[in-house]
Amino acid sequence: MINRGSYVWQPQKMDMFRKSRKAQDKRLYVWQLPIRLSHWLNILCITSLIITGYYISNPFMHAISEDQSIMAMMRFIHFVSAHILIASALIRIYWLFAGNKFARLKEFLPFTAEKRKEVLCFIKFYAFLKKEVHHPIGHNALAAISYSFAYFMIFLAILTGYALYSESHTGFFWYLAGGWVFGILSDGTIRLIHHFVMWVLTAFLIVHVYIVWLNDNIEGNGLISSIFTGYKIYHKD
């Protein structure tokens, strides 16, 4: 009766839906604790890395007295955040293999015909070419691609970041961590990639927040609260 798969905004029907919610709908535990933890660590670290990283490239605040250490502090926060982000990425990678079916690696590989179809469906849906789309319980295939893309960007940032870190931290460990990149790319190119990843991740954040809000609004599936609680609302019909 209620067409929940559609983007159509139905205020009158939504009231009905809200009343019938408890009776009809099921709360499903989708995002396990490591996923939520990793997600919020990512948010925290990426935000801090963007702000401090931008400061390092373009110091917009100036010290007013000599005993301040703004740049040193910014770099310290940048490096600490970077290492927390790496820890968070490691948690997420571990959970690709140890998590529930919504967190597994399979969810992120769009290689089955079904997944490819889903990607196309969602592209059409977001481009207003399709009015209804079936929302899967976990990530939809297009969202999964966008998260893989974001993680690829994070990977680039980590690699180029360690390369730059190895400039002031010499030794074999830091060479292994990133110093070897200088054998492939020049210093300028490494800095360019590291800097550009910041802007791409900023753009990703904007799109991510908007799409999440959009889906939560359309679907009424509690998407936004699900990343706090882990529970999504699943409509039985």
Binding site: Y7, V8, W9, Q10, P11, Q12, K13, S57, N58, P59, M61, H62, A63, E66, D67, Q68, S69, I70, M71, A72, M74, Y126, F128, E167, S168, F182, G183, S186, D187, G188, T189, R191, L192, H195, F196, M198, W199, V200, T202, A203, I206, V207, Y210, L214
Partner: protein, 370 residues
């Protein structure tokens, strides 16, 4: 030309360099090479006993800045030492001979001292259109380099131009300028980049070869580690101002007068590897950052096309036009994304209202039927 059978000390002595100054020079070379003081006697012994190696100094597509860097020393002794450490048989700027006599001296060394002499090259080699953009005595630079560098024991590329093309290879590189190692394949070479090169680093490289019989340890760009192993940023005397967050905002402001960090004026110290902060220039008087000018990483392969413009911090995006820094492109990407999201939201809201009207209509009709 000097008598090439002389030892280096003999040559210096005949120019009036005292033994005391000679020992001081050996000690300073040991320090430049980052060796311990126990290496000083070894250097002294080598320079006293060994014969001067033959050397040929070639000029190609360049500004003679590297020669100037050596000749313009404030005290004559160091200039003599630098020039007397080798038996310089051919140097277009300072040789007395000219014409066929000079060319003959060049050919004699190449023929008689094959694989024994040192070729010191200043300037890039244009390889476009058969190398016609730089010809000397009717021969192309490429031709001369093939003959002289190809037969040398080692080629010392002095200055950024001969290392990787330097300013003459900056985009659009109309002459197809490349470094010596790219033009003449299979040669043994040492890169001593810089714009210009530091005379102490050339001398120290040769002294190392004379003393130990080997070339100094080189990095992945064939640069001696003793001179190019450390980052300018890590040895900069303005580094505390960087860490504090005290930056010069524009030329001649208060921070500039107080000697604050030049980062915002586009200083490339964090990307530049050279021993400028320790050995400095002009007999240790000063170097660009000390004099209040940002480093532009003159010794780096990237200084023109990637690190430039000189006075901006943001990385330059290759192939995206002169004004397009990574920040401008990145900000455009984010602004475009935000605009796209806003448009999407607007369209969706509009469609939503249309739908609402439709429902209202349907409801009215349903009411009417009732």
């Amino acid at each position: 030309m000097l008598k090439s059978k002389d030892t280096i000390f003999d040559g210096l002595y005949s120019f009036g360099v005292s033994r005391r100054n000679f020992i001081k020079f050996c000690a300073s070379m040991s320090a430049t090479l980052a060796l311990s003081s126990s290496a000083v006697p070894q250097i002294v012994e080598a320079l006293e006993k060994k014969k001067k190696p033959y050397a040929i100094w070639l000029h190609f597509q360049e500004c003679t800045g590297d020669t100037e860097s050596i000749l313009r020393a404030s005290k004559p002794s160091i200039a003599q030492i630098v020039l007397d450490i080798v038996s310089l048989e051919y140097h277009e700027t300072i040789m007395a001979g000219s014409g066929h006599a000079a060319e003959k001296a060049l050919h004699d060394v190449v023929k008689n001292q094959k694989a024994k002499y040192i070729a010191i090259v200043e300037g890039s080699i244009p390889i476009k259109d058969g190398g016609i953009y730089c010809t000397i005595g009717g021969r192309t630079a490429l031709d001369i380099a093939n003959e002289v560098c190809g037969n040398a024991f080692v080629t010392l590329n002095v200055g950024s131009c001969s290392c990787w093309g330097g300013v003459s290879s900056a985009k659009p590189n109309p002459t197809g300028a490349v470094g010596i190692a790219d033009a003449v394949s299979g040669i043994k070479y040492v890169n001593l980049p810089g714009c210009p090169v530091n005379a102490e680093n050339i001398t120290a490289t040769i002294v190392h070869y004379l003393t130990f019989g080997t070339l100094p340890v080189l990095d992945r760009h064939n640069r001696p580690l003793f001179a190019y192993g450390k980052r300018i940023h890590d040895n900069c005397e303005r580094r505390p101002h960087f860490d504090a967050g005290q930056f010069v905002r524009k030329w001649g402001d208060e921070g500039h007068r107080l000697g604050w960090c030049l980062y915002e004026l586009g200083c490339k110290g964090p990307m530049a590897y050279k021993n400028c902060p320790t050995i400095k220039w002009n007999e240790g008087i000063s170097y660009p950052i000390q004099a209040g000018h940002p480093c532009f990483a003159c010794a780096s392969n990237d200084s023109w096309d990637v690190f430039g413009p000189i006075y901006t911090r943001a990385p330059h995006v290759p192939g995206a036009g002169y004004q397009a820094t990574a920040d401008k492109i990145g900000a455009a990407v984010v602004a475009g994304t935000a605009a796209a999201v806003a448009t999407h939201a607007a369209i969706r809201t509009f469609l939503g209202y249309k739908q609402k009207e439709k429902f209202a209509k349907e409801k009215d009709e349903a009411d009417k039927i009732k």
